[in-house]
Symmetry: C2
Subunit: 300 residues, 2 copies
């Protein structure tokens, strides 16, 4: 079952207490696509890069089976983010953001993308997220992320967009900011009043909680002792989550819970190395082993 | 199976966004004892109060079956804590601490306490915690808590005490502070090197994680929308935990996990009202219902 993903494809320079990388592959659509590719074919990426974007990254995405028909290559430089993490790896400090060709990005879906059944709207401007939805003809499941910038600068547009969203994925700070409510369980309930049938609140090292009007599920993070770079963990989570859901076509509560655990497992691998380096050697057997461990560490 | 608990018995004035109380019943030994009393008889409290301590509180503890032979009544005022919580109910701001009669407290176990099989050393000076252990003749399970004050001012003594502890219970900030290590999983492993066979790290709204050398268990908090006063949650957790363990006499991994979930459930009730007010009407049936819910919100 195919998945359209719209978001950034970027070059990142990241520094953490455990090392640094310069101009490494990054971007929300990239992390999502690669994670989803462990579960399903038919991942159709919509994004933009500049003419400096290395061919090796294109080749890597092709090797993961990602359809790049919708990846526009424009004259100019690729979206660039430079950030740093301290000992508290939960919070990134942005040192510079150069939108470059991403600044004028208007997502345009190729004809071959329009009948996809699933879509992931990564954390772009909510007006562009709506543009993407309007171009889809037969979508059955809309999953959407956001970020603090849009909550502060495009709150009304974001609240309009999530009326059309089935599953809204955001982190704890964003949920609190969006609803002006410190209690996450209250914030989740209030988000559901705006339209989504499910909200997933990501809490970094503390895992995630997901609520519908009638259910609640709490998943821990996979316990790691060595986290090298948390960049992309949220989009990797979303990719593992929606990749598994799309591969099974089963939206039951129990299968959604499994999908959340698969997303959690994919995110745990992602943070073990910079950029998407860990994913280059990751196997399905390693994923299944951690999935089983997740059950072992939560059962009582 | 009897449990000795040594800690504070206090009068607390607490202000939260949801109200306030003045001179309400509090103290680590109090919260622990009342929580444990839902699972087992034979809770033997060691502590000190002043001559201002209201008889109604003594009567309440007696009504819960708590043995107060070891509660010393001294001339002077009872330990008094005044604190405030903001919207972030995870962090208390201490406005004043008056040790009063607690300042000269030297725990002395009555003869009838000395052969108890279980002991909970609440967050008192680690040298006093050792004094208590020396007075016990036949103890089989030592559970110990601490606090930031002792980590900064009595670190060596604390590390000496935990050599003699089976299960060390502390919160995430304390674990990080004690080991100088931000990663909680690493901090937990390092704590185990000092002697305890198990460490339980409490994370407030994010639940708890527990590690031994060979096992790991993550429990969420019970999801609440209305938290009135978090005071005493940690000691209530410990009371539910050890009360259940003592009542079953089963230290298997699976039973320890159940005990952690019972502790979590007890703590969830505690924070729904000021002081120990919620516990006054709490029933075992309510506890069991939440225990079952904990399973329903974690299973996948």
């Amino acid at each position: 079952m195919s998945i359209v993903v719209v978001g950034s494809v970027a070059l990142d320079s990241v520094e953490t207490p455990f090392g640094r990388v310069e101009n490494a592959l990054g971007g929300s659509a990239t992390y999502f696509s690669v994670a989803a590719s462990f579960f399903t074919m038919g991942i159709k990426l919509v994004g933009i890069v500049g003419d400096d974007f290395p061919q090796e990254h294109v080749d890597f995405l092709h090797s993961r089976g990602v359809d790049l028909t919708g990846l526009e290559c424009a004259i100019g430089k690729t979206f660039y983010w430079r950030g740093r993490y301290g000992d508290n790896l939960n919070v990134a400090e942005t040192l510079s953001t150069e939108l470059n060709v991403f600044e004028e990005f208007v997502p345009k879906l190729p004809e071959s993308y329009r009948n996809a059944k699933h879509v992931f709207l990564a954390n772009i401007n909510p007006e562009l997220q709506m543009d993407v939805l309007r171009q889809m003809e037969d979508v059955e499941l809309v999953v959407c992320d956001t970020m603090n910038l849009w909550i502060s600068e495009r709150r009304a547009e974001l609240l309009e967009t999530i009326k059309h969203v089935d599953i809204f994925v955001l982190n704890d700070a964003e949920a609190r900011q969006l609803m002006g409510e410190f209690n996450l369980n209250k914030a989740a309930k209030r988000i559901l009043d705006y339209g989504p049938s499910r909200v997933i609140i990501k809490k970094g090292e503390h895992g995630s909680v997901t609520s519908t009007r009638t259910s609640y599920f709490s998943s821990p993070a996979y316990p790691l002792e060595n986290i090298v770079d948390p960049t992309g963990a949220g989009d990797t989570f979303a990719g593992g989550f929606l990749g598994y859901l799309a591969s099974t076509g089963d939206l039951s509560e129990s299968n959604v819970r499994k999908a959340i655990v698969y997303g959690t497992v994919l995110a745990s691998f992602n943070v073990e190395d910079f950029s998407l380096n860990r994913q280059r050697s990751l196997t399905r057997a390693e994923i299944e082993a951690r999935f089983d461990e997740m059950r072992a560490i939560t059962e009582f």
